[in-house]
Every structure is written in structure tokens, then in C-alpha cells.
């Protein structure tokens, strides 16, 4: 938990830190009744149905992190295509003098496909447009106000674009939505960017595609089994690996913490939650 959030929680409330005690979750909750507030935007780790059954309110922190996650997606694309990370390493180990590094690939003007055109997907699209990219997307339903090409089939999207970005929520339907078929459709010149959840991607298939050259590259912020990252990826120059930092800026962490505190205060004063989910 971020320090600022922890400090704020301790200042305003009785904070019971589950991770500090030795009892099981069940025992802990029996002794400390309360409600759950979670400082993320993803709801995949919360059993919403159970919460609703038991009358537990759930609030999340949408919007505050949209910019940061979208910025990271662009940073990952540039990192992979322009080989920024790999060439930094090249310079540091003194290879610049020795040999020619080879060319990176242009980002501007490439075709970008977005899986999930929600807040984050839309923010990514707006940024990519400034780089002269053409935008297309796959979503549960076509968005009437989006001026981008819609594909009702993710294979068609992957076939048509050079950069595929996962930006949808993790649900039963989207688990392993990026599978071998999609990866093959994206192809040896394509790159995959995942700023969603690790479980969106069949990680085993991703690794073998990268090793076999069936996929051109990948920029990953999330993994199926964090903080474990498939060992095979650690030596590849055409991937950029981030330790789940999508929203990890000082400014956004503070803003998320403030929103958590505001939701808790609202709840405890019987006022409406600011960002309720249920």
C-alpha cells in the first residue's frame, strides 16, 4: 500500500492491516467487521455478487489513473518499436563504439488496434492519433460516438493492425482473449501491448510466439502470475517489461488515495459514495 494512503487511512480511521496479522482472513473479518474499499480501477479481484448479496458497498478509483495508464501504453509502444530500452543497455555496456546496432521501427503512422474502447482505450486512441496512427477497435458493442473503425471480431482487428493494445476489463469472457489465434493474426511484424491484466493473454502462447519470431515484439505491464515474469522474456530485446506500474505516479497515487479517503468518509457519514460500483 502506498505510504500516503496508509498515513491518511490511519489519520482518519481505525486501520486494520490484514497483512500484519497472523490469523486467516475469515478469523480476521469475524473480529473486525467492516466494508471493503479497494484502490484500483479493476474489479476482477472482488466478488461483486457476494458483496451485493451481503449489502457491502464497493467503490473504486476510475478516471484518476486513465492518463497514466494511457501514457504508459504509448511509452511501451515507443520502447518496443524504437528499442529505447535495448539501446540504453547497448550504450551502457559500451557497445556503441563496437558495432552498428541496427534499425528500430517507426511508430508514427502505424495502425493501432485497441481491445476495449472504455476510458483508457479512448485515451490511448487520442494519443495515438497525435502520432498520425489509424485507430481501430474491438469492443462488446460498437461505440456510436467513436470515429474509429469497429471490428466485431478480434481476429479481424489483429489482422488489420500492427500494434494491438489490450485495454479492456478482465471478465470471464476476456480471460485469455489474446490467444494463439490472435497472436498469429497479429503476426511477425506486429506488437502486443498489455496494460490490462495478465490473464487477458495466454502467456505461454505469447512466450512461444516471441521466441519463435511469430510475433514481432511486446510491451507488458501485467502478467498472469505477478511478480513472476516468464524467464524466457528476460533476455529478449524486442520486449519491454514493466512491474505493473500503469498508474504508479506520485500524482495519481495521491489522487487515488484521496478518492479512497473521500469515499470512506462519505460512507461513514451516510453520504453517497463518490465513485460507487455497487
Amino acid at each position: 500500500m502506498h505510504k500516503y494512503l496508509e498515513q491518511q487511512l490511519e489519520t482518519h480511521f481505525n486501520l486494520f492491516k490484514l497483512w500484519h496479522c497472523n490469523s486467516s482472513i475469515a478469523e480476521f473479518l469475524k473480529t473486525h467487521q467492516g466494508n471493503t474499499i479497494r484502490a484500483v480501477v479493476g474489479l476482477d479481484k472482488i466478488d461483486l455478487r457476494k458483496c451485493e448479496e451481503k449489502g457491502i458497498r464497493v467503490a473504486n478509483t476510475p478516471d484518476v489513473l486513465t492518463d497514466d495508464v494511457a501514457d504508459l501504453a504509448i511509452g511501451l509502444i515507443l520502447g518496443v518499436l524504437r528499442r529505447i530500452c535495448a539501446s540504453d543497455e547497448y550504450v551502457r555496456i559500451g557497445k556503441w563504439k563496437d558495432a552498428d546496432f541496427g534499425l528500430a521501427t517507426k511508430f508514427s503512422g502505424k495502425s493501432v488496434g485497441i481491445v476495449g474502447l472504455g476510458r483508457i482505450g479512448t485515451a490511448i486512441a487520442k494519443r495515438a492519433e497525435a502520432f498520425g496512427c489509424s485507430i481501430s477497435y474491438f469492443s462488446r458493442s460498437q461505440k456510436p460516438f467513436a470515429n474509429y473503425k469497429f471490428y466485431s471480431n478480434i481476429i479481424d482487428l489483429a489482422t488489420s493492425c500492427q500494434i494491438l493494445i489490450v485495454a479492456c476489463a478482465l471478465t470471464e469472457e476476456t480471460r485469455h482473449i489474446i490467444n494463439r489465434e490472435v497472436i498469429d493474426a497479429l503476426g511477425p511484424k506486429g506488437i502486443l501491448i498489455n496494460i490490462g491484466r495478465g490473464a487477458h493473454v495466454d502467456e505461454t502462447e505469447l512466450v512461444s510466439a516471441l521466441l519463435e519470431g511469430r510475433l514481432g515484439g511486446a510491451g507488458l505491464d501485467v502478467y498472469e502470475n505477478e511478480p513472476e515474469v516468464p524467464e524466457e522474456l528476460l533476455g529478449l530485446g524486442n520486449v519491454v517489461l514493466q512491474p505493473h506500474v500503469g498508474s504508479d505516479t506520485v500524482e495519481t497515487s495521491d489522487a487515488m488515495a484521496d478518492l479512497v479517503i473521500s469515499n470512506l468518509k462519505a460512507h461513514f457519514s451516510n453520504k453517497p459514495l463518490l465513485t460507487p460500483v455497487i
Partner: protein
């Protein structure tokens, strides 16, 4: 003679008479020539005279061919000096395979009535992408945390320290030419506030303009250097600018190393007087100050901001286009207008 010229296809054919085509001197192959390959530069309007392939000492080589050399294809590694031009009285055109022209004595060219062309806007997108990529990397610690993951530290040490948000950052662009304008466009989409300094204020733009780079630095959270290297801009980013930029400030340089007082920059980075740097260029390439290798808040790139196959193909077309236009008495495509 004219029919023979038209029939020639420059492929080493038996009928090929190289001496009939006007000659373009190439002292050393520019990177684009080495990477793309000479075949893409072939034309029936000119031929390359490759100085590096001759066994003769350069001075002798040049004197031998002086009468027939009408144009020079150059790049950073092969500067065009007044002394060189003195030896080649028939030269009327200098083509550089780069955006920068600091390796060309522009004043001498102007005085001798020699036209100069450069890479025009072919590098603007890639240059801008590199600059923005470096800025995002430094602020969000992308390369540093990629290294952290690869070293197994995410598992052993936990989360990486927080980065810094882009939206709302004031980014001062030093030099609002082709690359600078493309950078500004991208920064706007990222929610940054664009400010700039340039030789002249651009009246068609609404970004705040500062005539003094120190003032720009004082009002910026980050500076992006993408101007030309000239006598006025050499070491323009100095101690005062770094001081004005401040402890939280970040610098990105995709211009030329010598625009920045490198020693001073390294000192500021080592002592935490500025927060980080993204550097594609250095004063003494390929030497990079070793102190930078110890720093996690610095991203280093081996002068490749514009090195993509797409840029190189576009540059090749432009170089050929300029040479062909010149030898057909047509207007040049990317003439450098200011001296």
C-alpha cells in the same frame, strides 16, 4: 552522347560510360547509403564519385576530378569546409543526408553561390517520436524499471519507486522547427503544456514564447532540445539554464550534444540538481560520460533518433530527388534557406 546517357542504366553494363554522367562527390558514405545500399541511390542523371574507394590521397584525388565534380553528398562524418570548396570550383550543390547542417560551412556556400539541401521534414516524425519516447521514459522510469524486472528485483525487492505524471507538465521546447512542431503536437495529446524558445516567435502559434532560454527553463518542468547547432546555440544549455530548470526538472536532447554543456549537465545529474535526462546525442560521440552509466534517472540512446527504415527510405528518395532536380534544372526539393 545524349542517347548514350539515356540508354545507360548504371548497372555495370558493357555499354555503361560512367564518365558521361555528371559527378557527385561522396567523401565518406553517409549512414543512409550504408544502410539502404547504393542501388537505391542510382540514377541516370548523375553518378557517385566515391573518394573512399580511391587509392589516391584525398588531395590528389580531388585535384584530379575537380573539373567534373558539380555536387557533393555529405553527412556529419564528412564535413564540407571552405577549404574543400576551394578545391572544387565546379560545385554548385551540397546535399546533406541529415537534418543538421552544422558540418557545412553555410556562409562559404552562400558566398560561392552554392545551394544546400538537407533532409527537410523526413525526420520530423521519427525525431519527435524519439524525443517524446525519451521524455515518457524518464518521467515514468520505463527503462529503469525494465532493468529492475530483468534483474529479478520485482520478485525480491517489491514495487519500483513511483514515476511522475505527464499531464499538466510544462514542457519547454528549444527550437520550434519541423521536429519541434511535431513534438508539440504529441505533447498536447499527452496533456502537457507546451512552451518554447526559438530564434523568432512563431506568430501562427499560441504556445507561450520565451526569447530567453533561461526564462523558458524557469517556467518548465522539462526541456526538450531539438534546435540546430550553430555558433549561437553551442553550450546554450549551461549552468544557468540547469539552475533555472531546477531539482525536479528533466532534460531531453535530440539536437546535438554540443548544444549542452555536457560536463555541467553530468555534474547536475550526479548531484541531483536536476531530476533526470533522456539523451540521444553527446558532445563526443560515441564517447558517453561514464558517470551517466551509474544513474537510473538517465536514458541513453546512441544517436539514432531518426534511424528507422521508413525515415531512411524517405531520406534516400529526397536525396535522389534533390540531385535529379538539380541536374535537370528543376527546383530543389528541400533547400536550406537560412545561412
Amino acid at each position: 552522347m545524349a542517347d548514350q546517357e539515356e540508354e545507360q542504366d548504371n548497372t555495370g553494363d558493357q555499354n555503361h560510360k560512367p564518365q558521361d554522367l555528371p559527378q557527385v562527390l561522396v567523401l565518406k558514405p553517409p549512414p543512409v547509403l550504408s544502410v539502404i545500399g547504393e542501388e537505391s541511390f542510382l540514377s541516370n542523371k548523375y553518378q557517385f564519385l566515391k573518394a573512399w574507394e580511391s587509392p589516391l590521397p584525398l588531395h590528389q584525388f580531388l585535384t584530379a576530378h575537380a573539373g567534373s565534380i558539380q555536387a557533393i553528398l555529405c553527412s556529419g562524418a564528412a564535413p564540407v569546409t571552405d577549404d574543400l570548396l576551394q578545391l572544387l570550383p565546379s560545385v554548385r550543390l551540397v546535399v546533406t543526408a541529415s537534418a543538421g547542417t552544422n558540418h557545412i560551412d553555410l556562409e562559404a556556400c552562400h558566398r560561392r553561390g552554392i545551394s544546400v539541401t538537407n533532409a527537410g521534414n523526413v525526420f520530423s516524425d521519427d525525431g519527435a517520436d524519439a524525443a517524446v519516447g525519451l521524455l515518457i521514459d524518464v518521467l515514468r522510469k520505463i527503462t529503469a524499471s525494465d532493468r529492475y524486472v530483468r534483474q529479478g528485483l520485482w520478485v525480491n525487492e517489491g514495487d519500483y519507486p513511483l514515476g511522475s505524471k505527464l499531464r499538466g507538465k510544462r514542457v519547454g521546447i528549444v527550437g520550434l522547427g519541423g521536429i519541434g512542431l511535431e513534438i508539440a503536437k504529441r505533447l498536447e495529446a499527452l496533456g502537457c503544456n507546451v512552451l518554447y524558445t526559438s530564434r523568432k516567435k512563431k506568430t501562427f502559434l499560441s504556445y507561450p514564447f520565451y526569447s530567453d532560454v533561461c526564462q523558458l527553463a524557469a517556467h518548465s518542468d522539462a526541456l526538450i532540445i531539438c534546435c540546430a547547432l550553430t555558433d549561437q546555440t553551442r553550450h546554450m544549455i549551461d549552468k544557468d539554464v540547469f539552475s533555472a530548470l531546477g531539482k525536479e526538472g528533466v532534460i531531453v536532447n535530440v539536437g546535438r550534444g554540443a548544444i549542452v554543456d555536457e560536463k555541467e549537465m553530468v555534474r547536475c545529474l550526479v548531484h541531483g540538481e536536476i531530476a533526470g535526462a533522456g539523451l540521444d546525442v553527446f558532445e563526443n560521440e560515441p564517447d558517453v560520460p561514464k558517470e551517466l552509466f551509474e544513474l537510473d534517472n538517465v536514458v541513453l540512446s546512441p544517436h539514432r533518433a531518426v534511424f528507422t527504415p521508413e525515415s531512411f527510405m524517405a531520406l534516400c528518395e529526397l536525396v535522389v530527388g534533390n540531385l535529379e532536380a538539380f541536374f535537370s534544372n528543376k527546383p530543389l526539393l528541400s533547400r536550406v534557406m537560412d545561412v
